[in-house]
Amino acid sequence: MIILGIESTAHTFGVGIVKDEPEYILADVRAKYVPEKGGIHPREASLYFMREAPRVIAEALQSAGLSMNDVDGIAVALGPGMGPCLRVGATVARALSVYFNKPLIPVNHAVAHIEIGKLITGARDPLIVYLSGGNTIIAAFVAGRYRIFGETLDMPLGNFMDTFVREVGLAPPYVVKGMHQLDKCAEESKEKKILNLPYVVKGQDVSFSGLLTAALRLVRSGKAKLEDVCYTVREIAYSAIIEVSERGLAHTGKKEVLLVGGVAASSVLRSKFEAMAALRGVDVKVVPPKYAGDNGVMIAWTGLLAFKHGITVEPERAYVRQRWKLDQADVPWGDP
């Protein structure tokens, strides 16, 4: 079975082609929208996607050495994400499905991040810790769905880290040689001082907005060295994430942790996770950077799992869902 998957939830228009047996991944082509300045403008991104879509699809087929006739189904990320971006992927997928008479398979983007992580790391039934620019979620598979045990009450971890380093003038670029500017700056703190900044964990949730405000105020007051503020901020933010993950493990009894999303690339965060996991006798698995960011492969792979369980959607009913929460998506293949 061969599935073509389309990702277009935010900054990347990606097309992946996968097969249900090794080597699994047959094609992975991406076009990333990089705004000239400022943040992502959904409308501009969607115009860019429309221009790039035909080329990306053609290149994916070509690099796999396939034609549309070889494909058994078209998977598409219908959410969550930005409306204008999502609509490009959905429109293209509907058109391909109707024109080539192929089944259309709806995929939840967050589920796809998890499924590609499981495929590549071999994790079977992990506690999932999804840390990216757009998400901070602790989840686990229970009875047909990925249930959310914890999340952020305000900013996602990656967004928090990026905003802090940008506001204090350390970024962009946010990541240099695989190291986030916050980690770099923190490593320069000689005394490893812990300044008086707020640590906020509520139940299994984290909150970073109070920490951001207080840390920026401290830097601007000139009363502390920047590297000491970085160190404190980093230690507080990472510790809070590990703490809620540890609660998630205690609560669910899972024996592995799977880290997905861009922030999982932080080696400092990873070694803290390993220290916690060793204490509880669980394994830590991390999605490699290549598949941590948005891509079409993860959509194709999740589409393949879904298709094998009979999940399809009629093209005229394939609406985008900007706020399609992780725990609202059915995962009938999820039983370990």
Partner: protein
């Protein structure tokens, strides 16, 4: 072979939670729980010490205050901040979580009672910070609330809303198959103390809180600025 005997029985580990080890023993002859917050190797040692002593102090102070106010919480026996230790009354009973999971008859009434206790607690200006069905021990039909390390004094609607949100989310992930009736019963109990108007206000706040951490378009746009 003879087992060592203590007056009052053998100390027994009852739980190794994420935060603390809980040991059942006696204190001055009374059945007691020793709750010790252990150091975490992944935390900076100074941060670790700060968090453990802050939470130990918070938990001790708040269960003491609530107990004096007449709410069903364990009595406080002893505290040592430097050791991260609290000794409190042992509440003999079952976790509300297990009673719901076993569907014992009357579990819905217990949740309604819990709603009342939480409303009374909020009325006293305390938010719990981790209301789950694992943090409620039921003794003779009364739900005792435990685990106050993340609690604080606040009358802000925001904090009350977060407290209720945490309970609802815990129910959704743990008791997903009976979550509707559990949540309804909780609010019935809550409203019987705090009134329907207040419950409406809280529900509105919870809705707002639940939209925040989510995938919000505006937030993604701000990000790379």
């Amino acid at each position: 072979m003879t087992k060592p005997t203590y007056r009052g029985g053998t100390p027994k580990i009852i739980a190794l939670g994420a935060e603390a080890a809980l040991i059942k023993h006696t204190f001055l002859g009374m059945p007691a729980v020793y709750k010790v917050r252990l150091p975490k190797p992944y935390r900076d040692p100074k941060l670790d010490l700060r968090l453990r002593s802050e939470r130990t102090a918070t938990e001790a102070k708040i269960i003491h205050d609530l107990r004096l106010a007449g709410l069903p919480v364990p009595a406080l026996y002893y505290v040592s901040l430097s050791e991260g230790l609290i000794v409190m009354e042992y509440v003999e009973g079952d976790l509300l979580r297990d009673l719901i999971n076993r569907r014992v008859s009357g579990y819905v009434d217990l949740v309604r009672e819990l709603g009342k206790v939480i409303a009374l607690m909020h009325g006293l200006g305390v938010v719990h910070g981790d209301i789950t069905t694992s943090n409620v021990v039921v003794r003779e039909g009364t739900p005792y609330v435990i685990d106050f390390g993340l609690a604080k004094y606040s009358n802000e609607l925001e904090d009350v809303g977060v407290d209720v949100h945490l309970f609802i989310r815990a129910v959704e992930s743990t008791h997903y198959d009976v979550m509707e009736e559990v949540i309804i019963a909780f609010f019935e109990g809550y409203a019987s103390i705090a009134g329907e108007e207040r419950v409406k206000e809280i529900k509105e706040k919870v809705r707002e809180i639940r939209l925040r951490g989510r995938y919000v378009e505006e937030r993604r746009q701000k990000r790379n600025k």
